[in-house]
Symmetry: C2
Subunit: 625 residues, 2 copies
Amino acid sequence: MPRITFLPSDISVEFTDQENILKAAMKAGVHINASCGGAGVCNKCRIFIESGQVEGDQLSDGAWRACTTRPVTDITVRVPAESEMDKKALVRPLAKKAASWIQAFGEKIEVPLQPAVRKEALDIPEPTVTDSLSDLGRIRREIGTEVHLDVDSQVLYQLPYAMRDGGWKVTASFLETAKPGFKRLIRVEPGTSSQANLAIAVDIGTTTISAQLLDLATKKVLAEASDYNPQVSYGEDVISRMEFARKADGLKVLQEKLVECLNGIVSELCTKAGTGLDSISLVTIGANTVMTHFLLGLETKFLRSQPYTPVANQFPPVRAAEIGMELPEHVRIFLAPCVASYVGGDIVAGVVGVNMNHHPELTLFIDIGTNGEIVLGNQDWMACAACSAGPAFEGGGIKFGMRATTGAVEVVHIHPESFEPMALTIGGRKAKGICGSGIISLLAGLFMTGALDRQGKFRRDLDTPRIRKGEDGWEYVVVEAEATSIGQDIVFTEADVENLIRAKGAMFAGYLTLLESVGMTLEDVERVILAGNFGSYLDLDQAIIIGLLPDIPRERFFFAGNTSLQGAHMAALSWPKYQEMITVAQMMTHFDLSDNPRFMDHYVSCLFLPHTDLSLFPTVQEALG
Amino acid sequence: MPRITFLPSDISVEFTDQENILKAAMKAGVHINASCGGAGVCNKCRIFIESGQVEGDQLSDGAWRACTTRPVTDITVRVPAESEMDKKALVRPLAKKAASWIQAFGEKIEVPLQPAVRKEALDIPEPTVTDSLSDLGRIRREIGTEVHLDVDSQVLYQLPYAMRDGGWKVTASFLETAKPGFKRLIRVEPGTSSQANLAIAVDIGTTTISAQLLDLATKKVLAEASDYNPQVSYGEDVISRMEFARKADGLKVLQEKLVECLNGIVSELCTKAGTGLDSISLVTIGANTVMTHFLLGLETKFLRSQPYTPVANQFPPVRAAEIGMELPEHVRIFLAPCVASYVGGDIVAGVVGVNMNHHPELTLFIDIGTNGEIVLGNQDWMACAACSAGPAFEGGGIKFGMRATTGAVEVVHIHPESFEPMALTIGGRKAKGICGSGIISLLAGLFMTGALDRQGKFRRDLDTPRIRKGEDGWEYVVVEAEATSIGQDIVFTEADVENLIRAKGAMFAGYLTLLESVGMTLEDVERVILAGNFGSYLDLDQAIIIGLLPDIPRERFFFAGNTSLQGAHMAALSWPKYQEMITVAQMMTHFDLSDNPRFMDHYVSCLFLPHTDLSLFPTVQEALG
């Protein structure tokens, strides 16, 4: 790989494929002005090649366009600087990422292979005149009378054929029950070889559904698939979907759309793995309380309004076919138990998925999504809360906010002198909007350069055309119209900032309220686990600067990805893990923050950047001087 | 009531309504020749009124026709007699009926009211902001955490409405499970008053289906209903129906017809009791193994041929709706467990229904129906067998055999000198055929008058036109053509006798085989319980004379009626009684007589009237002189 050395900062970095010099600069912590996101449009990312060979676009004055130029050999690049001050400003701090939880802890979790459905090969004596015990009786005799056997009625229809077709060798599927000494016979297949035992683990998110096909004999993930939750057409968030559910047939439509999507995913998984639906024995699902209700078609009317009562938090195993899933009759769905209307099975699955219930360290588990849920605790106790943070960090309620797809500004660095941005888009395409990570880096950058004050207001006196009064009040121009794919300036407004401050304030007030309720402080937190995809892109320093995450040593942070899917995965492999979920849901003390005066106090204090009390953010305080 | 005195025997009897003088004579043990069954056709039942007033038909010579004449006052009747011998012959022995088991024991059985489905009124605290536990969680809290609660998924759909519609008062239905400390919530209704808890107990016989609607709060029978088993159109007996089941859709048709009939019966029960299907919580069923398979739509192919293997003998509770019954989703069917292919749940229900499993006395339980099943034992052990007796005692395989309906000859007395019959039909209508009790009295009468020898052959040398050689060999003319409704002589043939001897021989050989297998003899039998309607009409002496029942003191016999229904009834009221059935089915040692050499030996010895070894029948031996 060629090496790039940037001047005047004299920072060098290895160039990797799929990059250009602009992206390499961002990775190296070098600022280069860039408005169009890397689409080769704005011509602002001018650089000079001092040594080495490149290929790409050279401009008339001999400069090259960083975003469309790649090194062929090791190169030295000079970024134009107008002053000594400027030279310093060209160096931006490197992004500090949270460590991967999977690498740190995940691979060490022992998940005993003990699935809820076990297949057992039985070699049954053929009946004779002197031993004409019934077909079912022969199975009972084979497994021993000390086991009390419940039997699914469909088994009675399979039995006589399976036994005779299999030459008195059958494979029996037994479902674990919560009762010691009790088993449930749910299926009998002819023969004792090549009966695969597969499971599907699913995370049903409000926006995205992700699933894995697992082999219950080898623990292997045979295939993965995901799709957008099709309910999005009926409402972006759970509240609007619950409103839709109140219409005639609304609930039915939402249920059917969801199941249809799951059927598609299951089919895709089977195609990818080259297996049939028939080998699937069980489904485990992590989903929030509202999604769980929708999946089963349960009434959400009473979940929607105070006192926000779910129909149930802990669900019996449900037959997949009963809710319309195209799976064999014996397949049961195990739903991760919920804790309350806004702390759902996805969180419980997540907590088990990261083994928090087996760790002595005080852990803060944070899932920043549409809502924002937090769990504080360790193996001995847990407190949880939903923070009603809203979807601001997913781009919701932000003027040019968008999902993290092609054309989204995903990272921005602000030049501390000129306030010129260095903006990169996903896919290097012309900008369409700003996604979550872009929003955080914008907010952090504008605050740290002093363009925004602690109240989240733009300084009106700065000599830059980027900060101006627009139709929606004061704003920062991230990308000029001509460099976008939407033909208008992409701006970041004071109203956006206000929304973000409220969102991060709700999260942070949540941490403080839970900590306070157990007589602890942020300093006591030994681990912060960031759930969801969010965490993996997050620049920790920036998230701390804006007051979204606590200012504690960075090595205590771990991003854990889709913990809900991870929990569902474990529960599929291991029935005891599903039972752990039930235990965890029961041990969690839920705090309803919507009605909590201490939360309101904290929330008000959090409506500053990063917080009213700067002593809570020592590294930010230091950086601000 | 007027009194009738019959001369010359000087026997008097009280006349009851719905009778005529012929019927009164039969009851009194007085023989009057009568061929037409009491239809006023044959004019053989001539009598003279010596005192008192009558109304009816007087014949030209001053005699009256006994079958169409009724007393108005006390009367004295002279039956014409031609000799002193004749005078004696006119007195026939009184029928000895078995005592009613219900009166002797049935009313003393304590059936604790503890149905498998219990309704519990719950008064649930309304949710508040500080107590927003889920709807299901509130139920769990109310019943206490020491109970592990399983939940039917349909409950989740009822819960939110039931709780709110009922103003937080609900009636919860809990299903007992075999697991101590475990309950299953199967239904939640709004409100806590007027929720009836009803059950249906059913006996599904091969020919007839009988059912009761029970109130599980008061133990009361609210209504009764019965119907013919509609499967009769597809075969009279289980064998021919299993043959039909092998045709395409045959099993489906049999299942659907049966369920359709059950739905009709359930509907009739509800109409009679003025209640709705909605109050029904459970169904208990006693049925033989084949009917149980048909009800569930289970394969009977392997039950049909050696080694006669049922799919199952013990069945899980089945949802009524699942097999097509028009009952609410929560209703479960509890099927009495079977023992083997031809000793079914009807027998097990019957044994529990007569409390045989709680009596120390050695009891012989006999169910003479299409097949003939016997159970020998007491509270400590039980042996059982099916005797393949065939349906001869129900009229099957008998030339003029018919069911016990209007026009069936139900009782016959043979004049020991003239061999003239005194035949009565059901309903006093012209004879159409001969039913079971008529067949037994014919066989016993013909044997005791010497018209039949011990091999079952008619004496060829008797001077009576009643015994003749017909187209099917030797026969006895019971009713002449002109006195029938079918326009031909109703006869009783030697082939009929042979069939009956084989049938009774199979039963008796069954008793002896079971007794022998436990080292006991007929004398050890302390009680004989006759199950089925059969027993209530049976003349014990006659049944013993032909060798169908053992010759032991008559007070040891009890007729118990529909014991299968009685067992289902008990199991409906009391879940422990259902569990007793499972225990009873497990404790029964089944003897497969079809393959038993000792049975074959006994059977051959039984092919005489009453038996090769007359010492087994001391009272018959004495009567024969």
